[in-house]
């Protein structure tokens, strides 16, 4: 099995605690955006199809 050239690269430099805190804040922001997108598509679906979409036999 051939060796992946990526493996020869240096390992990532360690992030400082301050860097990690920044990355954490970024992850939280991304989660909020994704949650907002779910809500956005839900509301737009209701607006385009009407509330009757919720009134259907399961």
């Amino acid at each position: 099995m051939s060796e992946d050239p990526q493996d020869k690269k240096q390992p990532p430099a360690a992030f400082s605690p301050e860097d990690m805190a920044r990355r954490n804040r970024r992850s939280v922001a991304l989660a909020l955006v994704l949650g907002g997108l779910v809500l956005f598509f839900f509301i737009v679906t209701l607006a385009k199809t009407g509330p009757a979409i919720l009134n259907r036999p399961l």
Binding site: P12, F15, D19, R22, R26, A29, F40, I43, V44, A47
Partner: protein
């Protein structure tokens, strides 16, 4: 070829595959002030359009248009990172300041571009989505990658990208576009040269250092001042057209005439005052007022057509 490519290669060769940039750095990549103007102008196109749209759909479409505009700004910052780094005005932007990697900005810009076009196509219609895709392409590729570094007419032709949002707004409402949004397009298109050349007069050394062929650097300050006045003299009457065509009312007529005269006055001052700090002040005054001018025109259109504050005038044209 842009140095952005070199930076990406370097970034990929190094160990750092992700920066420590925060959400606000990514938001800054979207050029929020430009996004705000796009929201105002696209909304202006929507409310002035002959027709109506479900408010939720209209709001969703507006969000997609503003994100698409932000995405094109992000791709512009990715491509122009090398020149942003040598200009004082832009050196603090996230990529030249090292807070965001070029590869991250490229991925962010492309993702938002594709996403915003798809969402607009789904919530509104294909025409508006196609127009948004063309606008992003025009700004990121035609303006940023080609015109900006090639010709002093860069911002004249590139100004079309900033002028499309009202047409997209009308397409969202009617599935088509007509004279209403073409006039709004013309207003923004004619507004762009005096707005940017006023700034370029003050920042010509910055642009020269970056090798950008802005009009003051190529044709000289005197020719630039004449062009500013010429464009403003055409812009001011065109900006009154909405009142004559029936989608601007009495308030719009008064505001467009008064602020149009102020724009002409400020541009004439730029033409007359050519030396020293007073010349810079005159150019800055025009630059600053031009932003207020465009904002006021569209804000009044919004108030008249969207909030029912219309004192209708007899339709003279259209």
């Amino acid at each position: 070829m842009s140095a952005a490519f070199d930076q990406i290669t370097q970034a990929d060769d190094s160990a750092a595959l992700s920066s420590t940039g925060e959400a606000r750095d990514f938001f800054a990549l979207l050029k929020p002030r430009v996004m705000f103007l796009v929201i105002v102008t696209a909304l202006g196109g929507m409310v002035a359009a002959p027709g109506s749209v479900n408010p939720v759909i209209g709001l969703a479409a507006l969000l997609a248009i503003s994100v698409g505009a932000g995405a094109s700004g992000c791709l512009n910052m990715w491509w122009d990172a090398d020149i942003d780094a040598v200009m004082a005005r832009t050196a603090g932007r996230p990529i030249p300041a090292g807070r965001i990697l070029p590869s991250e900005a490229l991925a962010f810009g492309l993702t938002l571009s594709i996403g915003s076009v798809l969402v607009l196509g789904l919530v509104a219609n294909l025409l508006s989505a196609a127009m948004l895709a063309f606008t992003i392409f025009f700004y990121a590729v035609v303006y940023s990658m080609w015109l900006k570094r090639a010709t002093p007419q860069n911002i004249v032709i590139g100004g079309a990208a900033g002028a499309f949002p009202p047409m997209i707004g009308e397409a969202v409402v009617t599935g088509d576009f007509g004279m209403t949004s073409i006039v709004l397009f013309a207003i923004i298109f004619l507004w762009t040269p005096p707005h940017f050349w006023a700034l370029a007069l003050v920042k010509s050394a910055d642009y020269a250092r970056a090798g950008i062929p802005m009009l003051p650097n190529v044709a000289g300050p005197a020719a630039t001042r004449r062009q500013i006045v010429a464009y403003t003299l055409v812009l001011a009457p065109v900006a009154v057209l909405p009142a004559l065509m029936g989608f601007g009312g009495l308030i719009y007529l008064v505001v467009s005439v008064v602020t149009g005269l102020a724009m002409i006055g400020l541009s004439l001052r730029v033409l007359k005052v050519t030396e020293g700090e007073a010349a810079n002040k005159a150019a800055y005054a025009l630059f600053g007022f031009s932003i207020l001018y465009l904002f006021l025109l569209f804000a009044v259109l919004l108030a008249e057509n969207g909030l029912g504050l219309m004192w209708a005038l007899p339709k003279v044209l259209g």
